[in-house]
């Protein structure tokens, strides 16, 4: 295996199983209290280490718990504020209720925390219900930096449970040791130098890992911590691999595995019928999470125990007390930001392939869409468009007139995206290589010379995007003047930015590589891709003088990446399992802030059957980022290369996506303002309905639509859960009525996937299937009014110019529709919006009302007019 199991990782072995009672004691008489922060010391009686704890109250029912060394021999890495956290979180006043030597009780709004001195632990309650416990199982383990000893031997406080005794055997030391002076004495616990296959991590700072247990009493359902190809509801990891967060390039990954993939968001959400809480682990190093779910029985109450351990950095935990799912999403949104409204074209269909090989190929694919009447907005070029994989350049033989090619797409209102990876070809004729070398912009190896590794271009170096100056430089390279042949209709895609390093340990950089200000790659690995994404986004923004909305896709991501653009789930495979796993993967990304996300339609690797490809289009049309992409080893699969029936169904699916764009766009607008998912797990929409908690074969699109894609081969019927006792649902195809809180067997054909509009909601659509979003700007809207049992419905529509940032200055229009007492009212629900829309509503379809209208009277500025019905 090129990737580590927890047993291959020294700090995991040291952290995962600790069978001693907690050796930490809080010295509560040392407590310092400011208005908003409680500080105190922790003493480890086993090794005499001293830690400092800060508990801070934050606004909107949040708290922050930070643990660091009291006097570290050198500073430990903390992610700069502004990079992951948008800003310093707004603090909230703490009140001390009770204080003595053994415990301190504080309150902040609805949250109360009781800190126990010995053994050290903290109980958090929300409105008198205990919802989170910290270190209740005594797994806090903070390895203080000590400077490496000559022998490399260090005494360690922990012992390992006998159950895992085999671990104490020496791990593999086969393969070539790269460095002769490596200490191997400590390999047993992996504290200093550590080997993995033929790779050695010198780990010169020695053990620096941190870990603690966080328990959620009363909860049996936890979600989040992407990216894993796993079920939505997280599973118990007892006696199995923990979930890992360490961004890696995993080609054709396995489904149903806790293995880490391309990105990480260390946010976990615990949910019960009573409450939703969240926990954000603000740490960018290699992180593993154990989960143990205890169902309630006679002996014990229901509880989910989690154990978090990271290789370096500090313990910096944000606790989000909800109490509703939406509250947790907006609390998290306040910390790390929300997804900004993308330009409308980015919500259309994207056609990509590794690779459209030349300008003629591009032209043919582009006109193929027109010939077959299939809308699309963006054509993508993978690595082969470059001159020898030197990014920001063009292969002059196959793309001699790139600018003209882009302009030809522009003339039709379409866009192009080219790939730009973070590895820089070692080539004296390559401007970026030369400039970056001169300016010392590359990541260094442990010996402080630019790290040299292999990727697509052969020998390469990696730009150090963690350095703000490098990001500034990179942004300038996106300029029209710098990126030759580019236009404002050329957008960028960042791939391989985990970073992927061929022949590197776990296909990535060595952990002892050195970044800006001397930080080790170990400290910040998971944020590397985010920094490139950020720099590219800023470059595209600067390119238009801050006028146009950027669009950048990235494969790697971290918490906060949602601010910089879209992400996708990497190199998936053309199998039904991979189609199925897109739903939980994208739902998990959505509830952890990465809302603008998608999966390669049809699967990147291998060839899908026509049925699989068609089903994939139908599913992806209801997922936020909608792109077909495939490997060069696969057969061409543009939609019209399918059998006739499949072409038609695929066209219908893509057209449906386009006609629903007004609804999508309105959802994205709400997403920017309030945070929260675009596609939602059922439990988010029905938080008190326990039958929804495990559902991950269907999802809500906003609050108004339930999508149950068909993701099995050859089925003629699928079972669909329509939740909510008080709800009514209408099949969007035939407006057939279904009452809620039932499971139905819905017959399906290849052209059918069950989609339901929820009674009580109004959806805006634009039903003319233009050839791209550029052509629909003056098209009329249709309102689909589906009434609930009270014959009531509401909805809204957000409109702006669809491409610039002028909406930030009030150039938008937000209308609300209410259907009540047989009257549909359309009103301006945000008077600070001053945009004049280019189109109006032309058609209203009212579904489910038993009233049979005979006429419609339109009131407009005190004047009535009537239309027959």
């Amino acid at each position: 295996m090129p990737f580590k199991s927890w047993r291959d990782s020294g700090f995991c072995r040291r952290q995962r199983y600790i069978d001693l009672p907690s050796l930490y004691t809080a010295t509560l008489d040392s407590t310092t209290t400011e208005d908003d922060t409680l500080g105190f010391a922790l003493h480890n009686t086993g090794n005499d280490h001293h830690l400092q704890v800060e508990l801070t109250g934050l606004q909107h029912n949040c708290a922050r718990l930070k643990i660091n060394e009291r006097q570290p021999v050198k500073p430990r890495y903390e992610i700069p504020v502004g990079d992951v956290l948008v800003q310093h979180p707004q603090k909230n006043k703490l009140n001390t209720l009770n204080r003595d030597e053994s415990s301190v009780t504080i309150t902040m709004n609805d949250v109360q925390a009781v800190i126990h001195a010995h053994p050290f632990q903290i109980e958090f309650t929300y409105q008198d219900t205990n919802v989170i416990n910290m270190n209740a199982r005594g797994l806090l383990n903070f390895e203080c930096l000590q400077g490496k000893t000559h022998s490399g031997k260090v005494k360690h406080k922990t012992t390992h449970s006998s159950m895992y005794e085999p671990l104490r055997k020496k791990p593999r030391t086969t393969g070539n040791q790269q460095s002769q002076d490596v200490d191997t004495d400590d390999t047993e616990l992996g504290e200093f130098a550590e080997s993995f296959g033929s790779f050695t991590d010198t780990n010169p700072n020695g053990p620096s890992s941190v870990g603690v247990d966080v328990d959620f009493p009363g909860f049996t359902h936890v979600y989040g911590i992407p990216e894993h190809a796993e079920s939505l509801c997280l599973k118990s990891t007892r006696n199995k691999e923990p979930y890992r967060l360490f961004n890696l390039d995993v080609y054709g990954y396995e489904t149903h595995s806790p293995q880490s993939l391309y990105g990480s968001v260390p946010l976990m959400i615990a949910h019960s019928e009573e409450q939703t809480v969240g926990m954000f682990w603000h740490n960018a190093s290699d992180t593993w999470i154990d989960i143990d779910i205890q169902e309630s029985d006679k002996k014990q109450k229901a509880q989910t125990n989690t154990h978090w351990f990271s290789e370096s950095g500090v313990i910096d935990i944000f606790l989000l007390f909800g109490p509703t799912p939406e509250d947790v999403f907006s609390q998290y949104g306040l910390l790390t930001g929300t997804t900004p409204l993308p330009p409308l074209f980015a919500l259309g269909y994207h056609q990509s392939r590794w690779n459209y090989k030349d300008e003629d190929d591009v032209r043919k694919v582009d006109s193929g869409f027109d010939t077959h009447g299939i809308p699309y907005d963006v054509l993508w070029l993978d690595i082969e468009h470059t001159d020898k994989k030197k990014y920001f350049t063009w292969d002059k033989i196959n793309f001699p007139n790139a600018r003209k090619m882009i302009e030809d797409l522009s003339a039709k209102g379409r866009k192009m995206v080219t790939i730009v990876d973070p590895h820089i070809k070692q080539d004296e004729d390559y401007t970026i290589y030369k400039e970056a070398s001169q300016r010392n912009y590359f990541v260094k190896n442990k010996d402080s010379i630019p790290y040299e590794g292999k990727c697509w271009p052969g020998l390469s170096h990696w730009l150090d995007f963690t350095n703000p100056e490098v990001r500034q430089y990179w942004s300038s390279k996106c300029g029209i003047d710098q990126y030759k042949e580019s236009t404002e209709d050329l957008y960028i895609w960042n791939d391989m930015n985990e970073p992927s390093v061929f022949e590197g340990p776990e296909t990535t950089l060595y952990k002892d590589c050195i970044h800006h200000k001397g930080w080790e790659h170990r400290d910040l690995h998971n944020t590397y891709g985010m920094y490139q994404h950020m720099a590219t986004n800023q470059g595209l923004l600067a390119r238009s003088g801050g006028k146009k909305r950027p669009f950048v896709l990235s494969r790697s991501f971290f918490a906060g990446s949602q601010r910089w653009g879209a992400v996708w789930t990497g190199d998936n495979v053309a199998t039904w399992e991979h189609l199925q796993i897109t739903v939980p993967m994208l739902l998990t990304l959505n509830i952890t802030g990465m809302t603008f996300s998608g999966a390669d339609i049809g699967g990147f690797a291998k060839n899908p059957t026509p049925e699989l490809l068609t089903r994939w289009y139908q599913t992806a049309a209801f997922q936020p980022f909608f792109r077909g992409h495939s490997s060069h080893k696969t057969e061409r699969r543009e939609p019209w290369l399918q059998p006739e029936e499949n072409i038609k169904i695929t066209r219908d699916a893509i057209c449906m996506r386009y006609s629903w764009l007004p609804y999508w766009y309105t959802l994205f607008y709400h997403g920017e303002v309030k945070g929260g998912p675009l596609i939602k797990p059922l439990w988010v929409a029905f938080p008190r309905d326990k039958v929804t908690f495990d559902a991950d074969d269907c999802f809500m699109l906003g609050s108004a639509v339930l999508v149950h894609p068909v993701m099995e081969e050859g089925v003629s019927e699928i079972s669909v859960l329509l939740p909510g006792k008080e709800e009514v649902w209408y099949d969007v195809d035939d407006h057939k009525l279904y009452v809620g809180a039932e499971t139905y067997a819905i017959p399906v054909t290849l052209s059918k996937i069950p989609i339901f509009q929820r009674g009580g909601y109004i959806i805006p659509r634009r039903d003319r299937a233009r050839s791209s979003t550029a052509h629909s700007w003056a098209d009329p809207y249709t309102l689909i009014v589906c009434v609930n049992k009270q014959i009531f419905a509401k909805g809204d529509l957000y409109v702006d110019d669809f491409q610039t940032l002028n909406y930030k200055n009030g150039e938008y229009c937000h209308r609300e529709f209410i259907f009540e007492n047989a009257t549909l009212t359309n009103r301006n629900c945000d008077t600070s919006g001053v945009y004049e829309p280019k189109a109006g509503v032309k058609e209203v379809i009212i579904v489910g009302s038993s009233l049979k209208p005979t006429s419609a009277i339109i009131h407009w500025q005190n004047q009535a007019q009537v239309e027959e019905t």
Binding site: K357, D360, G373, E407, L409, S410, A411, K412, G413, K606, K633, E635, C655, S719, V728, L737, E742, A745, R768, S771, A774, H775, W777, A778, P780, D801, F802, Q803, A822, T823, L824, T825, N826, N828, T831, E836, G840, V841, K842, E843, V844, I845, I846, V847, G848, S849, S850, K852, T854, S855, A856, I857, I858, H859, W860, N862, Q863, Q865, E867, T869
Partner: protein
């Protein structure tokens, strides 16, 4: 499992169903356009909200009833007309806005509303034939020649949907609202899904060409005679390209460029005619063949090509193309690679001649594939390979011009 699913006779509850009213009101519901930005406060007040009441009985106030009648008239088969005093009452907001709209005509959604404003005020007694003459251009917009007569209303002033046979007042033809379930009432607008628009200008001697009706009035000139962009819709300013260069398509406002099309067509026709004469040689060559002749297309017309090889160099690769025999590729000093040697026709009729040469070398093709090449023969004045492409790993495509394909 399926047995467990209960249905509880919901079917009976479907009285609630019925996508009741397709009420369309062709005014700007997002109608703040009319208000200038200086009147923001006014906009906040409630009376600027628009409402639609669904009347559930026929007891309408007198004035409303009158309006309703007017509409029913307009919808029940009579040709477009209205009493001269009704304009003010009927579409008051619209008419008030008319002057405003003209000023900003670019922003007006092409729609029923606009069409109505343009409606001539007719004498109720007017001759039907006269109206037909006046409106026929509007009704037959986007209709191919052979169907034009179907779009002229019958004696009752009705149009019949082509497939579903539903009857509609002729005023609903091309009124930018889709009424026929088969999409046939909107041949000249983008209102119906899956409709086709036939450009006014058609190349003589070619089958009629159409575009998806979603391309009508979308700001892109699809018909060379500009007939698809009759409402003068243009792309948003930010998407418009400078006129100084030419692009793959023309953006609106459109200019007639049918002469270019005619020229190209003329040149193609010439090649076709000359080529057809040269084809004689190819048929002759196959003359002495017996039964096996048909392996080489109709009357063995491609036989002569099997007797020779074309050598071309593309992107540094040398290709040796011997139709029906073998195709090879060579790069630098590397060994020659077999791109296919087993011939079989993909299609050899209706003007499309595609020969598959399969069973080439395998390594290192994905999924155990062997290299193969598709030769597409196209009409040309001499035997010539114009392109060799590998659009997919190990799958090659050759364009081969030859009089044999004329």
């Amino acid at each position: 499992m399926k047995k467990l699913l209960r249905k509880r006779g919901i079917w009976k509850l479907f009285i609630l169903l019925g996508c009741v009213a397709i009420v369309y009101f062709s005014f700007q519901i997002l109608s703040i356009r009319v208000l200038s930005t200086h009147h923001r406060k006014e906009r906040e007040s409630a009376h600027h909200n628009t409402e639609v009441d669904l009347e559930t009985d026929s007891k309408l106030p007198e004035k409303k009833k009158y309006l309703l009648d007017q509409n029913i008239h307009a919808r029940s088969g009579k040709l477009p007309h209205e009493p001269s005093d009704s304009k003010k009452l009927r579409f008051t907001p619209k008419v008030n806005r008319a002057s405003k709209l003209r000023q900003v005509s670019q922003k007006v959604p092409i729609g029923k509303f606009q069409a109505r404003v343009e409606e001539p005020v007719e004498d109720p007694q007017v001759d039907v034939e006269q109206i037909k003459a006046k409106w026929s251009l509007h009704w037959t917009r986007g209709v191919q020649d052979i169907h034009q007569s179907l779009y002229l209303p019958d004696r009752e002033g009705l149009f019949t949907c082509l497939k579903t046979k539903k009857k509609l007042p002729a005023s609903q033809i091309n009124d930018d609202y889709c009424d026929c379930p088969d999409s046939s009432d909107e041949p000249g607008t983008s209102a119906c899904p899956n409709g086709r628009f036939y450009c006014r200008f058609q190349l003589p001697g070619s089958p009629p060409q159409s575009i998806p009706s979603s391309r009508v009035n979308d700001g892109i000139c699809d018909c060379c005679d500009t007939s698809d962009e009759w409402a003068n819709v243009t792309l948003d300013n930010d998407l418009k390209l400078p006129d100084s260069k030419t692009y793959a398509v023309y953006q609106a406002p459109c200019h007639n460029h049918c002469d270019l099309l005619l020229k190209t067509k003329g040149a193609q026709d010439k090649v076709q005619a000359l080529g057809a004469r040269l084809k004689h040689k190819y048929l002759q060559a196959a003359g002495q063949l017996g039964k096996e002749r048909e392996t080489y297309g109709a009357n063995g017309v491609f036989y002569l090509l099997s007797q020779g090889c074309a050598n071309v160099v593309m992107s540094g690769y040398k290709y040796n193309i011997c139709p029906f025999k073998k195709i090879t590729q060579q790069h630098g000093s590397e060994p020659t690679v077999n791109l296919g040697e087993k011939p079989s026709w993909i299609q050899v009729h209706s003007g499309i001649y595609q020969l598959l040469m399969s069973d080439g070398a395998g390594f290192p093709c994905p999924n155990g594939l062997k290299r193969s090449t598709v030769i597409t023969f196209q009409c040309g004045l001499q035997d010539q390979v114009t392109s060799v492409q590998e659009n997919e790993r190990c799958k090659y495509e050759v364009i081969y011009l030859t009089p044999a394909a004329c």
